[in-house]
């Protein structure tokens, strides 16, 4: 126990630990945006969200593999892969909402949990049958140097790249919600379903689009994670859980909350991994959440609810 405090102090003052944690936090934020939107707008916790992420990683990998000629693929093919993954998984998410979730979401929230849980199982087990459980990774040639020096820390180019893309996604998503007609419909629907219908918003379509856009964003995140780390069919559960931790920490239904919560989780996990071991990173994040819930059950930015 006594060894932990100096180790903790060392991790907290090591710029490379903090910066890498911060960068991964950006990816967690992008991943959690979809989760928080579906939860906040549609009122459904999508337990298959992590499996959408897994599908995104596999879609990107398949496209990159199909269009590159050598074993090391160019950066362009990776971008194409991400875009295809975004489109395919986005459409899939839309269909999942319209064809399955929409049929029971107004009846029972309890059933939507079981339903999305079941969809997740089908996705991950099918993926395992088709592609086997082997962890894979996508290795495009990222332009520029392979490492960047930054405030006394060394940052791999992939991590910097995924952070920037994730940040861009977050900004695009925010602008989409604020500025576009569809985005405004989504916000209207989340504020008052009936009033939104009264002003002529096709509520089912809006819910479907929310699912679809969320799935598209999480699919891109999956592709990025597949490049910077690795991916395999059963990865989904851990990422659904991470999204949940991020959303609860940052507060429900807000893009800014996802950003802050994501970076917070990235830092906690990275510092924790350095003090203890990387194999309990998920447990550390979750334990932080339980402690957090005891202290602030309404999230970082939320207000205490009147009962």
């Amino acid at each position: 126990m006594t060894a932990i405090i100096p180790a903790l102090a060392q991790a907290l003052t090591d710029p490379s630990v903090l910066i890498n944690g911060f960068l991964i936090g950006g990816v967690y934020a992008a991943m959690a945006i979809g989760f928080t939107m579906i939860w906040g707008v549609v009122g459904v916790i999508n337990l298959a969200q992590g499996d959408f992420l897994m599908l995104g990683a596999f879609s990107t990998w398949l496209v990159v593999g199909a269009i590159s000629h050598s074993s090391t693929s160019s950066f362009g093919t990776f971008v194409v892969g991400l875009l295809v993954a975004m489109a395919v998984v986005g459409v899939f998410g839309y269909l999942v909402q319209r064809l399955l979730v929409n049929r029971i979401m107004r009846v029972s929230k309890f059933l939507t949990l079981l339903l999305t849980f079941g969809i997740g199982i089908v996705l991950r087990e099918s993926a395992q049958l088709i592609w086997s459980a082997t962890p894979r990774s996508i290795n495009p040639q990222v332009p520029g140097p392979s490492n960047y020096g930054f405030l006394g820390a060394t940052v791999p180019a992939e991590r910097l790249l995924i952070f920037l893309v994730a940040l861009a996604l977050t900004v695009i998503f925010y602008v989409f919600l604020q500025r576009t007609r569809t985005g405004r419909s989504i916000r209207a629907a989340s504020q008052n379903e009936q009033a939104a219908q009264l002003v002529g918003i096709d509520i089912d379509h809006v819910y479907g689009v929310t699912f679809g856009v969320s799935a598209a964003v999480v699919a891109v995140t999956g592709g990025l994670i597949g490049m910077a780390f690795s991916f395999q069919p059963l990865m989904g559960n851990a990422y659904t859980l991470k999204s949940f931790v991020v959303v609860v920490m940052g507060g429900l239904g807000s893009v800014g909350g996802a950003l802050v919560g994501g970076i917070l989780l990235g830092l906690i996990e990275h510092v924790g991994s350095n003090v203890w071991s990387a194999s309990i990173a998920d447990a550390i994040g979750f334990t932080a959440l339980v402690v957090f819930l005891l202290v602030r059950p309404y999230g970082l930015f939320g207000q205490p609810e009147e009962e």
């Binding site: 029971i104 087990e125 851990a238």
Partner: protein
Amino acid sequence: MERDELEGGGIARALSRSSQRTKRAIRESIPEPYRDGYNRVVGGAGTVLGVLVLLAAVLVLLRTAFYVVAPYVGMPVTGSNYTVTTRILQFIVLALAWDLIGGQTGYASFGNIAFFGVGVYTVVVLMKGTLVGTVGFPVAFFAAGVVALVYAAVLGYALLRLSGHYFAVATLGVLVATQQYVANLQQTGGGSGVTLPLPTFGSVDRTFFLLFLALALVTGAVYWYVMRSRFGYGLNAVRDDEAKARAMGINAARYKITVWGISAFLTALAGALFAYQNSYVSPGVAFNVNWTVLMILMALVGGIGRLWGPVVGASFLWALRNRLWSGGPVVAAVGNVLGVSLRGAYLVVFGLLLVGIVLGAPNGILGYLDDKGVFDAVRSRVADTRGGSSS
């Protein structure tokens, strides 16, 4: 109606309304001339399928009963024959314990298998003597239940104050986090697993079969008692409308923590038996995410919120899983057509089943047959026969 209120409770009725609404929507989407035929064919097919599943489950339960008495009537059962039945009994315990929190209280716990693992590893730590002195299995067995109970109470204090949504995902986190901690502790033997002392009593297979049977009966009795007690009605009130339940003076938080504790206690006892029976355990076996899927699906397929639901679901689904696992000509033929080995595909099948049941028959098989009036028909037929014979 009165019976329905006693046995099914509010969620069953709410679910029944929902499934009827879905069915009505489907029916109304069918053009008028075909509607009658649809009702006859699809309605009839569903009932036939339901009855077949029910019969399969009853056969499994009859086999269990047969195994209990067989040695006394001069028909010894070989050890390996007990294996499947013992596992079914274990899942009856898990599914019933899940239904206490998931069905009776309406809080979907996706992490109940964490308590199974806690039970397994309490036995490991106590019997190996890695934390305190070595103790025998009977002490370790009850200690497993108590440890899980305390664990659930502490976690419940943090998690059950939140709405059902938060709780559901948080329980998934409990499972993942507990597994990771156990895999990284020295006292538990780490991620590669640990070997336990072998059972010292004779006829091991039959003894564990009887122990699991006893545990299943105890769990059933606890479930039955909870359902009919003031406590159980309180849980149903929390499930149907938590705000109203609180307004009526029910301490919702305490009710939820208590029932989750009971659920954890029973689940951990099953884990303790499993650990001693298996002799070798690892974090992957003790905290098996697939078993979480199974126990929820079992309760759901049979019918959540009713005593016989999880029992029927566990009997049918574990038998089905074994059929898919071990193969056979039919399974192999279907696998050939699809181009995959169905041996590893049983979870895909079960995932599809989960989706299908939620959308098509959220009350489970028993609820579906009940809605169709099958049980009423049987009951009145029986009553007629009795009336006829007495007159």
